[in-house]
């Protein structure tokens, strides 16, 4: 399905099996977490036995999408900014038999794409959406995102962000997604397990991943160029739901909760219901 350009004698086994070798190395910045999350996605795909023939990667616009687009050896469908869920609705309803993994970002999903995201959750569209939340708009050079922390200095909030960040997971839960979870890019084991669970859950699986953006978040918000510092910031500002119970309200301020927030596999979605509708009304 992909022609191999320059063949390297030895390649990472996941790259060999699933990625277009002429597109490697991918164009993420040094230290960016997108590659780590992609690695976890590929592990999940591998462990579940999904193939490039039955699985489509769908992207939007932003680092999450631009970096992963056209790396997958199967079909890659990159939508306009914010419209990934709308395109995925058409794709899935045309091919309900295929698996769709969506790579979206904080702006793509939470700003311009907010409405489509909400309705995809409401419809419980049977796809797996991975939200790459790096708290900033990376691809366009470091502007504030709906997920940027309060007070963050970015290129469009030079005096500090005065808006509270969006809790996308709570929105997904409220809108009706079947499976909702949040992890960090460095939570490899639980993230892979979550992605597998999401793929296997009928309905919309929404997995938010907090990941480091050393180039923009590190530079503008944290005044550091070190990827390790950004990873440390994420670790210090996240807590498991169990540990959160021991913290006071003040201690919890500005911290992300990790783990699973919803698992409702019994909840029917539009794909399943449409099949039932066809059974009842199809005349030919």
């Amino acid at each position: 399905m992909s022609t191999v350009g320059e063949t390297l004698k030895l390649l990472h086994p996941l790259v060999q099996k699933y990625l277009r070798q002429e597109r490697m190395p991918h164009m993420a910045c040094p230290g960016c977490g997108i590659g780590q999350v992609t690695h976890s996605v590929l592990l999940a795909i591998d462990e579940l036995g999904l193939t490039p023939q039955d699985t489509v990667w769908v992207q939007g616009v932003g680092c999450s999408s631009r970096i992963t687009y056209s790396t997958w050896v199967g079909d890659n469908i990159d939508a306009h900014h914010g419209r990934i869920f709308a395109v995925a609705t058409g794709l899935k309803m045309a091919r309900p038999d295929m698996n769709f993994i969506l790579f979206t970002g904080d702006g793509d999903c939470g700003a311009i794409g907010g409405n489509h995201f909400i309705h995809a959750c409401r419809r419980n569209l049977d796809v797996t959406a991975i939200l790459f939340n790096n708290g900033i708009y990376g691809m366009t050079g470091g502007q504030v995102a709906p997920t940027s922390p309060l007070g963050a200095v970015t290129t469009t909030t030079p005096y500090g962000n005065i808006e509270d960040p969006f809790d996308m997971c709570q929105m997904a839960v409220a809108a009706g997604a079947a499976y909702v979870a949040r992890w960090r890019s460095t939570d490899f084991k639980p993230l892979v397990a979550s992605i597998k669970k999401g793929i296997q859950t009928k309905g919309l699986a929404f997995i938010e991943v907090l990941l480091q953006c050393p180039t923009n978040f590190g530079r503008y918000v944290l005044k550091t160029s070190s990827p390790q510092e950004v990873v440390k910031y994420i670790k210090e500002h996240s807590v498991t739901q169990k540990d959160a119970q021991k913290l006071s309200r003040d201690e919890l301020a500005g911290k992300y909760l990790l783990g699973e927030f919803a698992y409702r596999p019994e909840r029917k979605g539009i794909v399943e219901r449409y099949q039932e509708l066809l059974k009842a009304h199809r005349k030919e």
């Binding site: 990472h12 990625l19 040094p30 230290g31 780590q36």
Partner: protein, 77 residues
Amino acid sequence: MAITIIKDFCKGCGFCITNCPKKVYELSGEMNKKGYRLPNPVRIEDCTECGICDLYCPDFAIVLEKTKKKGKGKEAR
């Protein structure tokens, strides 16, 4: 463990160096053609084959091969 660093993929982020529990890696003086300084698994005999370096590498630049004997030898490519 046989550890191969795919030079052309490495972007010098340093995650393998800072996250290895056994401090197997060090920053080497060698640069790839993009100017990134490569890691070097100098203490391969201490490697416990945990695989953390592979997971932490965002660029699929570390290829590991588990061996029965410890410290099989390293190769940078």
